[in-house]
């Protein structure tokens, strides 16, 4: 992980806290992070997804930031019951707490049949001079637990679920999935923000995996210790054992460090918000985390043993070898292939997913979900944030290094297509069991590829999360890095919106393409082969070009799954108008994937301004066909009622 660049002029907080924070100018900062909740979602998709959202929200709140956007990265075997339940779970939590879900991506692949991935990203806003950190501060400060009471739900969630391979007994693990209560979550968010805004707390920490044990250990650092009296923890059932209280993962709880003279004010805020609040301990200078129960010392451990000084393992790495054959996928005629690709699960319109999410609350959503990246206005100014979450899986299985780099470039390109200058990334690395040498190699390669891409873009990774052991019966998922990107839009009024009649349409970028690893290959052949090499300098240039030129572009759309033909069809459907395009006749050029490309449009007289990257004129916007197919037929394939989900 240390290979990933994590510093830069805009970074206020890098990895190591609950979330990364970057300065976006005008005195404002953005806290953001992506996190996984894969194993719970595999066992119980609705609650697993819901509590995944709840957890990432609390991480952002712990930084003192108001959450303003959620994104979800979903990987499932297919669009069946589990997937539908996970989508409902994301919506259940996000909608209820009033944070818009504005983006993300969904990929279906048999590799996720038994191990779905549910990654959730949250973006929050805070004043740049008020970043709240999780430290304990001075000895004598009170340690206050507030929010829901503590019960037996989610005991051992982290160890039972997250850190083991799943097998036949997965159903028996359902009771170890926590149950989310978004109503309490909403009250907790509002109370926490009020405490921070009023200056009543020194620091905040959310309670996630391993409950109080890990949260208190993370707070007790830099020589500070914490004495906690477990009898004071508000319990749901009064016969909990001390160890159960320490590791319970009951949801919707936070810990605050409070100066003693502020206790009354903190209690008053919690009372108004109808939340339990208890002074459960105090900060010491012992450097130890000590737990007392019924007046007796029940446990004691040097705090840093659980965090910084945790034992480290060296693991053996071995490249995963894959068979290559010269087999070339054979699809139907190009127009038919285009229609079939649009109707395939990985390209099909995501409307029925994002329509289940409130993507408007907060009145910031200038560009709604459905294309590349969403844009949120930083009211009252006209500046904005562009946010995206993208990942690779199938491609990473062929070549984890290139796949990792592509995930970074795609996230940046999506933000740039929406007019955002990428500021920083967050990442969640989802892999199999790292004790296996092939998986350890995939992990190392993924990180190396991502690091190279971040360096080429001179853009840091400020937060991240790793989800390992995504295996069932010894079969691992594809190495799946998900990369979130936050960019700044200088003026949301100039965000590229849609094709306009008469606009010139151009293809930007000229990378190496191949059918290997492409959606076309997955549909018409067998996934195999080698990914084309990336030109890192050209990739970075393309990203810069897209956001810098965005004020003159009427639309820019990233070429991704399905290649150029699908990209043109999506741009036409998004815009509701066709185009006369002179597209290449070659299958690789039409449907191949690889390095970065975008289809952009602008007024014909602005074409000469498009300089610095390879630009190829494709044609003119107008009419009601594109790629030789009517928009009505394309739309029927892309979002017809009976097609996919």
């Amino acid at each position: 992980m240390k290979q990933l660049p994590s510093s830069g002029p805009c970074v206020l907080q890098g990895p190591g806290e609950n979330a990364g924070v970057v300065d976006v100018g005008d005195g404002q900062a953005v806290a953001f992070k992506v996190e996984s909740h894969n194993h719970p979602s595999a066992v119980e998709p609705f609650q697993g997804a819901a509590t995944g959202v709840g957890g990432i929200l609390r991480d952002i709140v712990a930084m003192g930031a108001r959450p303003v956007a959620l994104l979800d990265g979903l990987r499932f075997g297919g669009p069946g019951w589990s997937f539908a339940r996970a989508v409902a779970g994301v919506g259940h939590y996000g909608n209820s707490v009033g944070v818009p879900t504005v983006g993300g991506d969904t990929v279906f692949d048999a590799a996720y049949d038994s191990n779905c991935l549910v990654n959730a990203m949250c973006v929050g806003l805070l004043p740049a001079d008020r970043v709240t950190r999780a430290g304990a501060g001075e000895a004598g400060n009170a340690v206050v637990l507030f929010g829901a009471s503590t019960g037996r739900d989610g005991i051992g969630g982290a160890s039972v679920l997250a850190s083991q391979e799943l097998g036949e007994a997965a159903a028996d693990k359902r009771p170890s999935v926590q149950i989310g209560d978004p109503f309490t979550g909403k009250k907790l968010i509002e109370a926490s923000l009020e405490l921070v805004e009023q200056g009543f707390v020194e620091s905040l920490q959310d309670l996630g995996a391993a409950g109080l044990a890990s949260s208190l250990a993370e707070m007790a650092r830099d020589g500070a210790g914490i004495d906690v009296e477990l009898d004071r923890v508000p319990l749901r059932e009064d016969d909990l054992e001390p160890w159960e209280i320490m590791i319970s993962e009951s949801q919707e709880r936070m810990v605050a460090v409070v100066a003693p003279h502020r206790m009354g004010e903190v209690e008053a805020v919690c009372r108004t918000r109808e939340l339990a609040c208890a002074r459960i301990g105090r900060v010491t200078d012992t450097g130890k985390l000590r737990c007392y129960h019924e007046g007796e010392l029940a446990g004691e451990i040097p705090a840093d043993l659980l965090t910084d000084a945790a034992p480290r393992y060296e693991v053996e790495r071995r490249p995963r070898t894959r068979a290559h054959s010269a087999h070339r996928p054979r699809g139907p005629a190009h127009t038919q292939a285009l229609l079939e690709l649009l109707a395939s699960p990985n390209v099909f319109s995501r409307r029925r997913v994002y329509e289940q999410y409130d993507h408007l609350v907060g009145s910031r959503t200038v560009r709604r979900p459905g294309i590349d990246a969403a844009v949120l206005r930083l009211r009252p100014s006209v500046r904005g944030l562009a946010v995206s979450l993208d990942g690779s899986g199938r491609k990473s299985a062929l070549d984890p290094r290139t796949g990792g780099a592509q995930a970074v470039f795609e996230a940046a390109r999506n933000v740039a297509c929406a007019g955002g200058q990428p500021l920083a990334f967050t990442d969640c690395l989802n892999l199999g069991n790292p004790e296996k040498p092939e998986v350890a190699w995939e992990l190392a390669e993924t990180i190396a590829g991502m690091a190279d891409a971040c360096k080429a873009l001179a853009t840091p990774v400020v937060s991240g999360n790793v989800s390992l052991y995504n295996e069932t019966d010894g079969i691992a998922i594809h190495p799946t890095p998900l990369v979130g990107c936050v960019g700044v839009v200088a003026d949301v009024r100039t965000v590229p919106r849609t094709w306009r009649e008469g606009d010139a349409v151009v293809l930007v970028g000229d990378p190496k393409l191949a059918l290997d690893g492409s959606e076309y290959q997955a549909l018409y052949g067998r996934v195999e082969g080698r990914l084309p090499a990336l030109d890192f300098a050209a990739e970075a240039k393309l990203v810069d070009f897209l956001w810098q030129l965005s004020p003159v572009l009427s639309l820019a759309h990233d070429v991704s799954e399905g290649g150029l033909a699908v990209c043109c069809a999506e741009a036409a459907l998004w815009s509701g108008v066709g185009a006369e395009l002179d597209l290449p006749a070659d299958t690789v050029a039409l449907f191949g994937e690889g390095g970065g490309q975008a289809v952009a449009s602008c007024a014909p007289e602005d074409v000469p301004k498009l300089r610095g990257v390879p630009v190829h004129l494709l044609g003119t916007v107008g009419g009601d066909t594109v790629c030789g197919v009517s928009l009505a037929d394309l739309r029927q394939a892309w979002e017809g009622i009976d097609s996919v989900f």
Partner: protein, 233 residues
């Protein structure tokens, strides 16, 4: 006489989400919103009241069924009985139905899914303080976002409401997002001063955010609130 800045109480329940959006929209349209906490026994001096969207009490039991017992709702009931203008948006509409201040009930969407998208609604009547900036038959493009927005009334009740012209907004043909009977999107009470709707006009007041068709509804409401003498007419 129209007051320069009508003062509007926005009632915040635990679980309200669109209270800030409503306050921002009212303020952008020339109103003076003031937040009212649900536990408050009385209302401050206000010219109108908004019950905003969200998930009051987590929608537990049934949307609006717990919020209607909040102390502030007693004050809202008295305010409405005096002829004061009350606007319930989404969860606010659900609360008003649960409180018996508006007819009908809101059931789960026919799709059994939450839905967030723009819909077209048709203005049925304009001689009310909530729609008097519209023209009859206007099509307004306003987002909905709800899981339980399917308004229901018996055939007899629906016929009575139609006779009394209490249906102010209907979903345009083919654009009913939730299966509500009679395509009903918004209903006013018999005396014409309490109005509830599922679409969110506060999310449609800025072209940068999609549409400004919601502004005519909120501006009508602000006009009406600024003319207290006319409100109960």
């Amino acid at each position: 006489m129209t007051r320069a800045k009508p003062r509007i109480g926005v009632v915040v329940f635990p679980g309200s989400n669109d209270d800030r959006d409503a306050a921002w929209a009212l303020s952008a349209l020339g109103g003076d919103p003031v937040s009212v906490w649900h536990a408050d026994e009385g209302l401050p001096a206000v010219d109108g009241v908004v019950l905003p969207g969200g998930f009051s009490y987590g929608d537990y039991l049934r949307p609006g069924s717990i919020a209607r017992f909040s102390p502030a709702m007693e004050a809202v009931r008295a305010f409405a009985a005096d002829g004061g203008l009350v606007l319930g948006i989404c969860n606010g509409f659900q609360i008003l139905c649960e409180a018996g201040l508006l007819p009908g009930v809101l059931r789960r969407n026919a799709s059994l899914r939450f839905v967030c998208r723009d819909v077209e609604v048709v203005v049925e009547r304009t001689d009310t303080p909530f729609t008097d900036r519209c023209r009859t038959g206007d099509h307004l493009r306003i987002p909905v976002k709800h899981g339980e927005g399917s308004w229901f009334a018996t055939e007899e009740l629906l016929a009575e409401l139609q006779d009394r012209r209490q249906i102010l907004l209907r979903y345009a043909h083919g654009d009913n997002p939730n299966g509500s009977v009679g395509e009903v999107a918004g209903v006013v009470n018999e005396s014409g001063n309490v109005f509830g709707l599922m679409p969110h006009p506060e999310h449609a007041i800025d072209p940068l955010l999609g549409s400004c068709d919601g502004a005519v509804l909120l501006a009508s409401f602000l006009d009406g609130a600024g003319r207290p003498a006319c409100a109960a007419a």
